[in-house]
């Protein structure tokens, strides 16, 4: 295709349940893109999509300097309760916390799959760092022998207040390892993936451990695809918050990918449009996700999020989902749309493909907003104007709920179903329709940055609040640098303060998040 060879070529890949998309990016410019069907073999889908992209662009695999991949494989496994392995749960807290044993609030079907092998052992810390009770290594060793006897291949370890000080979780891991070698057993330490909130962090650790078998297979499939494609670049996986981790890290912490799909879509919309503060409307086949971009990142949801019926406290984008998409069924002469959709059967059931169901895609084709199937089949359609007006009204009402203030914000429209919304403005804001909006997810993966976080309780005795804030920021920056961010590019994107009411001495919980651009050569040890 005759592009000058750049030093900055990256491959972004999105492995979804239905489609696998690949984009070749040169900086923020899309060089080539391709959509393939995911099917049963992930490796084949990645090779098909990425191979097509390399071929289109006439680029040799060794010219790519990084591969960034986003996936919903792990979220889908939890939601569908498939391919999960049983887990032994160790909680270091006794005598505290016995009133609520692990997995008390899990849906029964999921709990049945993950199993009920629980150990509530001595350990844990007070808020001020004193031990609740000293760790008992003999007790942990006895549990380890039992776990080995039961043949369990995954353990989740959670200690009270481990986000403040993780030493007890590390010591427990060391004792477990004497009986349970790394080749046969995955151990998840809760402080690696969760924040303060014992049950939510423990739930996340258990889900992570339950995904450890699948994580090995999926990351293996990714690595195989990279190898088959002849790529020499390191592989990164996108996380919930829109930052990257190495493939090695993702194999150990698959739960960190849970919300990467919507995050990538919103980040992709930001890059494609060049806008930092905007509303994003992502219209898919069945639903429309609406979210808010602030400083180029999605606004995060409140403190707890349900994943497959399990309460967690991951930071996830705050999205409003609407039952409106390209496959949504249209009824009552266009006055009623969805929430049901023909979904993946669009090519069998929509009128433009000779089917018998009137969908929003048929409406958009009839209005000449979309090119799909045979337009002659919807030449005489009634209710086109009514349905378009109804779709716009649904989106406008949802935008009104997401918009933070009376100030008007531009609306970035992405996703395969984007043509169902016509016009130049909605809800007072300009509609921006960036090119390549149908592969916003893969683009979002390709531009992800690396991040670092600090979430700790600071005592303000003898320390000013400003000093504590500065310490939190410094720690977040250091974490980002350790994760591979180029030092000059690191900036603080979030700072939250939660005062610890009812405690003297003005203790306060500070959470700082830093992000930066991926430094050249970073993460090579984690590459394929």
């Amino acid at each position: 295709m005759g592009h000058a060879v750049s030093q900055n070529l990256r491959l972004g890949i999105d492995v979804g349940g239905t489609n696998t998309d690949a984009v070749l990016m040169d900086g923020d410019r899309v060089v080539a893109w391709h959509k393939a069907t995911t099917g049963r073999h992930i490796t084949d889908a990645i090779v098909a999509a990425a191979g097509a992209v390399l071929q289109q662009a006439g680029i040799a695999p060794e010219q790519i300097y990084a591969v960034m991949l986003g996936t919903t494989q792990f979220t889908n496994a939890v939601i569908e309760r498939r391919r999960l392995n049983p887990v032994a749960v160790l909680r270091l807290a006794a005598p505290a916390t016995t009133a609520v044993p692990p997995m008390s609030d899990w849906p029964e079907d999921l709990a049945a799959v993950v199993g009920g092998q629980h150990y509530l052992l001595k350990g844990g810390l007070e808020f001020d760092g004193r031990p609740i009770s000293p760790l008992d290594e003999d007790e942990i060793a006895a549990a380890a022998r039992e776990i080995r006897g039961l043949g369990l291949k995954a353990v989740a370890v959670t200690s009270v207040f481990s986000p403040l000080d993780a030493e007890m979780e590390h010591r427990a891991e060391a004792v477990l390892r004497r009986e349970l070698p790394a080749e046969t057993c995955a151990i998840t330490l809760s402080h690696r993936i969760g924040r303060i909130g014992l049950l939510e962090r423990e739930n996340a650790a258990i889900l992570n451990a339950a995904l450890s078998g699948l994580a090995g297979q999926v990351l293996g499939a990714f690595a195989q695809a990279i190898d088959d494609l002849g790529l020499k670049a390191p592989l990164f996986i996108s996380q919930n918050d829109g930052t990257l981790m190495t493939a090695e890290h993702a194999a150990r912490y698959p739960v960190l990918t849970f919300a990467s799909g919507p995050t990538n879509s919103m980040r992709g919309a930001a890059v494609l449009s060049g806008l930092e503060d905007a509303l994003v409307v992502d219209i898919g086949g069945t639903t429309t996700d609406i979210g808010l971009l602030l400083d180029g990142f999605p606004r995060e949801a409140a403190m707890t999020v349900d994943v497959g019926g399990v309460r967690t406290n991951f930071r996830m984008p705050d999205l409003l989902a609407l039952g409106l998409g390209g496959g949504s069924l249209v009824r009552d002469g266009g006055a009623r749309i969805g929430p049901d959709s023909v979904g993946f059967e669009l090519r069998q059931r929509a009128l433009v493909f000779g089917g018998d169901s009137l969908t929003m895609s048929d409406i958009a084709v009839a209005a000449r907003q979309m090119q799909l199937g045979d337009p002659a089949k919807v030449g005489q359609l009634d209710g086109v104007e009514t349905a378009l007006a109804r779709a716009a009204a649904m989106i406008e009402e949802a935008l009104e709920r997401v918009r933070p203030s009376a100030a008007t914000l531009p609306v970035i429209l992405v996703g395969g179903g984007a043509p169902v919304l016509a016009g130049q403005r909605i809800g007072g804001g300009e509609i921006v329709r960036p090119g390549h909006g149908q592969v916003a997810n893969a683009i979002g993966a390709s531009i992800a940055m690396v991040g670092g976080e600090c979430d700790r309780i600071f005592s303000l005795d003898g320390v000013s609040r400003d000093e504590a804030v500065a310490a939190a920021k410094t720690e977040a920056r250091a974490q980002a640098a350790a994760a591979g961010a180029a030092p000059g590019s690191i900036r603080i994107v979030e700072l939250d303060e939660i005062p610890l009411s009812y405690l003297p001495g003005n203790a306060t919980r500070l959470r700082a998040k830093a992000v930066g651009d991926l430094a050249a050569g970073a993460g090579m040890e984690g590459g394929a």
């Binding site: 916390t97 609740i132 997401v402 303060e497 003005n506």
Partner: protein, 361 residues
């Protein structure tokens, strides 16, 4: 006499979050504890104040500590009963009935939990009628019942008995011990007889939590306007005057820590009606519109999300939320001169005098 079963707990928790008026702690963990206790030990019998014997020994129970610690260091199963048993041992007499000192927030669950664990009945009453931040802010203290002797218990089973001659000092000294226990202690306090309980306690507050929770749940399921339905239901109770003060979007949120309190102000805006302000100190204390007083403590100010009518606690307030602010009149026992001196505006350093919400518009 009614029975509280597993099926009632979610409604009680939802109603307790409403009565928490933005504070009181999320009842989520306490509800899980109580679910476990009822599953193991069976349902709990709840008596009304009319049904309790004159000479029955009543304890008020709940927890004392920091909400941020509560979500991390969950209690030991035997910890709340340990406080009750310690106070019984000190008095040389078993408690006949347990009640809440605080019906709002997570403490709403603790008498149910203790009653299930100890096989005792509980009393449908409390001392706050909502959530308040300090021990002495109860009708029990206002009308002459003493908080002491009271017991505090840690997860280790350590217990402390305190005899403090003033309930405000009891709050101060007790909190010092709570800190050393790791900021999460179970408490059994205000030992009193049934006759006194009838005089000093706010009646019917646990069943009110249940009624509020059930009403919100039924409105959601039946696609009815939850606010209208709730106002109609409250009209038949001693919290009789309820109204919607404002609907709008959170456009400003100021928080700070002062002396261990979460202090702040939330601004809610509607394009047609202008700006509305609610000040909080752990709980929502005062609501003003264009400088005009709309509701003030001890009347209840509740902020709910406009769509699902889910009560929102102060730490969960966020920019951009669409919210509905409701005010509910506190029952008469909480609005007397003596009561207002303890937990009226003056108790929180607010400049305005108390004006009943039904006289404000």
């Amino acid at each position: 006499m009614i029975r509280i079963t597993l099926d009632d707990l979610d409604d009680i928790a939802l109603g307790a979050t409403f009565l928490g008026t933005g504070g009181g702690g999320d009842p989520y963990i306490a509800t899980l504890m109580t679910r476990q206790a009822i599953t193991e030990h069976g349902p709990v019998t709840m008596l009304s104040l009319d049904e309790v014997a004159d000479d029955a020994l009543v304890f008020a129970c709940g927890n004392m500590g920091a909400p941020t610690v509560a979500i991390e260091k969950i209690m030991a199963a035997g910890q709340p009963p340990a406080a009750v048993l310690a106070l019984e041992a000190h008095l040389g007499r078993q408690a006949d009935v347990l009640m809440a000192f605080e019906a709002g927030g997570s403490n709403s669950m603790m008498p149910i939990y203790n009653a299930a664990m100890l096989g005792k009945p509980m009393l449908d009453a409390d001392g706050m009628g909502r959530a308040f931040p300090e021990m002495q802010m109860v009708t029990f203290s206002v009308y002459g019942a003493s908080g002491s002797p009271f017991a505090l218990a840690s997860e280790h089973g350590d217990t402390v008995i305190l005899n403090i001659n003033d309930d405000k000092r009891a709050e101060y000294i007790g909190r010092g011990i709570v800190i050393r226990m790791g900021a999460r202690s179970a408490k059994a306090s205000y030992p009193m007889d049934g006759r006194t309980a009838r005089r000093v306690a706010i009646p019917g507050t646990t069943s009110l939590c249940q009624a509020i929770g059930a009403n919100l749940r039924q409105s959601r399921a039946g696609n009815r306007d939850p606010f209208t339905a709730l106002i109609e239901m409250l009209a038949g109770t001693h919290y009789g005057h309820a109204k919607v003060l404002f609907k709008g979007k959170v456009t400003d949120l100021i928080r700070e820590t002062r002396d261990g309190w979460a202090i702040g102000k939330v601004v809610i805006t509607d394009q047609a009606q202008g700006a509305f302000e609610v000040e909080f100190q752990n709980e929502f204390l005062v609501a003003r519109q264009d400088g005009r007083l709309r509701a003030i403590v001890p009347d209840l100010i509740c902020i709910l999300d406009s769509e699902m009518a889910q009560p929102i606690t102060t730490e969960r307030l966020r920019y951009g939320q669409r919210v509905t602010v409701m005010a509910v009149s506190a029952p008469p026992i909480m609005r007397t001169e003596q009561a207002l001196a303890v937990f009226g505006p003056v108790g929180f350093g607010l400049p305005e005098p108390f004006v009943p919400v039904e006289e404000l518009d």
